[in-house]
Point group: C2
Chain length 214, copies 2
């Protein structure tokens, strides 16, 4: 019985996700779902991306956090509209909460939306939000074994950002092993190596985003 109900939750999430996908297509808005461990650098990536895209694209940000508005506070200075979803203990965003958040935006005046999911490598990868694509963010200080230990996200991601590349030399992160594991899970996904705190290595990511959004 528990399995049946869980399936119903996922089915309902999927139905709503498909409605969101249709709406975004109609409105010509791309939506990227950023997923990572806690502290891998999603918010700092968004800060750099918002700064870069200012006056180039019209962005809407959906911030998912278990509690607090700390990430949303960090992002508000870039002048783009932000909707904060506090899950109050919940481990991921779902399509229902995204539907509500999107109603706060004027989608006719928007090119692009970022969803910063709850910091969690497991649960968010099970829930379709109707996004254009999932983006995996992983940092060198987490170790090189994440793609093989948490394959669900890396298999589905349309781009992978390896962040904190500036810390690589101080850790035992094995770059070759990381790439080998990533390629085993997802042979062709673009990989961008960045230091978001330093603002380094981001050109490839910006370029990819512009090409994708079109």
């Amino acid at each position: 019985m528990e399995i049946k109900v869980m399936k119903r939750v996922l089915d309902r999430n999927q139905d709503k996700a498909e409605q969101i996908r249709s709406l975004l297509k109609e409105k010509k808005v791309c939506m990227y779902n950023l997923i990572s461990s806690p502290g891998a650098g999603k918010t700092t990536l968004l800060e750099q991306t918002c700064r870069h895209l200012n006056h180039q694209m019209r962005v809407g940000i959906i911030e998912g956090d278990v509690y607090t508005d700390r990430d949303a506070q960090r992002l508000k200075k870039y002048g783009f509209p932000i909707v904060l979803i506090n899950t109050e203990g919940g481990c991921h965003l779902d399509s229902n909460s995204i539907e509500g958040a999107l109603k706060e935006f004027d989608l006719d005046q928007m090119d692009l939306s970022f969803v910063e999911n709850v910091g969690n490598l497991v649960c968010p990868s099970h829930f379709d939000l109707g996004e254009t694509a999932k983006i995996a963010v992983v940092s060198t200080s987490e170790g090189d074994d994440k793609p093989i230990k948490y394959p669900m996200l890396f298999r589905d991601a349309r781009a992978v950002i390896l962040n904190k590349i500036d810390l690589l030399e101080y850790t035992n992160f094995n770059y070759e092993a990381f790439v080998e594991d990533l390629r085993q899970v997802n042979p062709s996904v673009p990989l961008f190596e960045t230091s978001c705190t330093r603002g380094e290595g981001l050109e490839g990511w910006f370029q990819w985003l512009k090409t994708e959004v079109g």
Copy 2:
């Protein structure tokens, strides 16, 4: 309806956890449930702890991982029995899987058990495994805001390990802000600052563990 069934899952988990707690008390075995983000250093902490406790205490290790036996492989050289639980996509361990794992040990010949939970700051903190205590592991490279953003774990933890202290100088981790947030959530929890890869700062943790196990 979904809420009702979820409640039943949690109730059933809690009942089993209480049975485990009684069994461990009867057998005089302490069990510590290690919880952290992916890549914070739980396995390296266990490696250092197993090396230190060798010939001093009889340890049994329960390794929780979504997929792969990589962490279990890293730990087997210390000569303690290990049971691996692969959750196959699941985001946390539950008391049912722990009950099964404990049957693989001879509890009459054991002082201490470590459970390495799935790398996840959210879900594992909702599920009582019948452990003696939860231990929170967090690393400097994740940023200083984790206690306030993921308060469930830090509120319940009986000890907090701040790992990767060797990376602190290369990050924007604000130590004072971290301690302030931690104290807001849990005023009195012992805090140990370690570099598990370097084997530094572990004496306090070892001493605490010996006092706790008695």
